[in-house]
Amino acid sequence: MATNQSNSGNPRVDLKYRKKKNAEEMKFQVISFGLMLFLTLVAFLAVWNEDFGGWYTVPFIMLLAVVQVIFQLYYFMHMSHKGHAVPSLFLYSGLLVGLITLLTFVTIIWW
Amino acid sequence: MKKWLPKWRIMLLFSMIALLLAGCGKPFLSTLQPAGEVADMQYSLMLLSTIIMVLVIVVVTIIFIYVVVRFRRREGDEDVIPKQVEGSKKLEIIWTVIPILLLIILAIPTVKDTFTLANVSGMEGKNKDKDALVVNVRANLYWWEFEYPDKKIITSQDLVVPTDQKVYFKVKASDVKHSFWIPSVGGKIDTNVENDNKFWLVFDSKKAEKAGGIFYGKCAELCGPSHALMDFKVKALPKDEFNAWVDKMKSAKPEVADADAQAGEEVFKKNCLSCHAVEAKDTRAEVARTAPNLTDFADRERVAGILPNNEESIKKWLKDPESIKPGNKMTGKYGNLTDEQIDQLTKYLMGMKVE
């Protein structure tokens, strides 16, 4: 199998290029971290602030959680990189199974 | 080879039909002899699905037999390499679409009946049906309690109901989960420990007659060592007889005929009354009602749900309930009784009738 792929080619040039790419990516990571902090803050404020409260608070903070988790998965856990097709297939399958469970538990099967 | 095959199949078909007919079971117990609106509805659905399924089985079997007979490797074929067929779009579409159609035919009445059977709006609330009878069923480790909230009476073991009208049930369990099932009158519903379940049944008068006036009821959820013995009986009476029964129940008192029975009553008061009530108007809270109400005990079909109701059985029960229903909740709770006391109690118990 093509498992032993490495960064052949010209190592020197390669190295520089990679370092730069990694650093650039790291910048994105920090930005997304900032956004995550922001989302968390908004969620907490939404609940803290009684005036803001209302029927839409729950869907709103759930939405914030979902967005934040997408950041985690795609940036922190590199799911945006290639080679993550199978992992995302299985993660989403698991999510689907879990969501069906959750959905039934909060809707049709209780009295 | 080819000759005997069709004959063999006809034989099989015959024996299957014979089996079917013989297999209808008892009119008081079999789902194949439906005795009321609910069971009828379920029976039609069962028939519809059976027909569809037999159709499927027949089609598969015909292809199957043709294939295994026609394409077996015969002598001289050892080196034959069959054509390697990849598949066939047309065929595959056929056997995808036809089952879908068959399933749609089955799904429509399924959904419809599901909602019909779950409709208990006549039971309470603003749509309450004035004539509707409501029975609260409470399942307990190996015995059943039936409370008629509108009539303010309680009985046990033998459910008494009027025929040809909707009877609503509100069921629950007091200890572990059981399930309330009268096979010939309708499908079951679980008696849960944390909520009330509701459903309805209709008891058909003609079918009741055919069944001898009595239907068998079963506990259909594993509930412990005596799960198999948690039977109950259903007496389906014409409406006026039912009403008469209710009236008699309301005023029923044990009949104490002679000195023996009187002595029995004394023993009973001392040893048994803490659990068993002898009046249908038992006003104690549910948790205090830890044993079958005995008001109409002598009228019952069975002792403890399973033994024929006669003196011998009662004595047997009082002597050693554990040998009859392992794990029952009466064993060891009523002190030691002498044979004489048992005789007296039996006399007394035999006087508990309303009919």
Binding site: T3, N7, Q29, F44, V58, V69, G98 | -
Partner: protein
């Protein structure tokens, strides 16, 4: 390519975690495991949602929870997620000591989170008599949040073990996948926490 081969920054592969077959297998296997964990936590959440109002007369969610504490815990865990990203960033650049440093910070932040959680549980038990055995809500709460806490504890000891074991050896293709996978685990813990603070704490305050 032999797993223990010595590398320089230049020869170190671009995705060291997936450069060997063993690494690729570990990487994939671990992701699949996380797929299973997703279902595990979803089930726990479902159970919690079914039971959260069944407090048998004990304290309600509104009475119990204190958002500042939860906010602080959240900040710790969230930051630790970023620090482990830094660690992996340095791993990819073959900067071993920097990687170790960032993993070290991650462990500290995680330990801080765990400390807050222990304090919080202790507080509930003593102030509110809200325990694992006091009601179905109590059982469900401590089970869900406790399962997460146990994951944090496991993650911490795992990363710590890896750091100690490999402290003197430097990076190679045998341990790179291990570090990478441990960091995935750490992120996943954070993902679960996002839902815990939203569903358990914030929604618990809303009612």
């Amino acid at each position: 390519m032999h797993a223990e081969e010595k590398f320089t920054a230049a020869t170190f592969p671009e995705s060291p975690e997936k450069a060997t077959l063993e690494g690729k297998n570990k990487f994939l296997g671990f992701w699949l495991f996380l797929g299973g964990e997703t279902v595990l936590f979803a089930t726990l959440f479902a159970t919690y949602l079914a039971l959260k109002d069944h407090n048998a007369g004990g304290a309600t969610t509104q009475e119990l929870f204190e958002l500042p504490l939860v906010f602080a815990a959240t900040m710790l865990l969230l930051t630790s997620s970023l620090t482990s990203v830094y660690a992996i960033y340095h791993m990819k650049n073959f900067a071993f000591s920097k990687m170790m440093l960032w993993f070290g910070i991650t462990v500290l932040l995680g330990a801080g989170f765990l400390g807050l959680e222990i304090y919080e549980f202790n507080h509930y038990v003593h102030e509110f008599k809200h325990t694992f055995t006091s009601s179905a809500f109590g059982s469900a709460f401590y089970t869900l949040v406790g399962f997460h806490g146990a994951h944090v504890a496991v993650g911490l000891s795992w990363i710590l073990t890896l750091m100690i074991r490999n402290g003197r050896r430097g990076l190679n293709l045998y341990n790179a996948p291990k570090f990478y996978v441990a960091s995935l685990y750490w992120h996943f813990i954070d993902v679960v926490w996002v839902f815990i603070f939203t569903v358990v704490y914030l929604m618990g305050m809303v009612g």
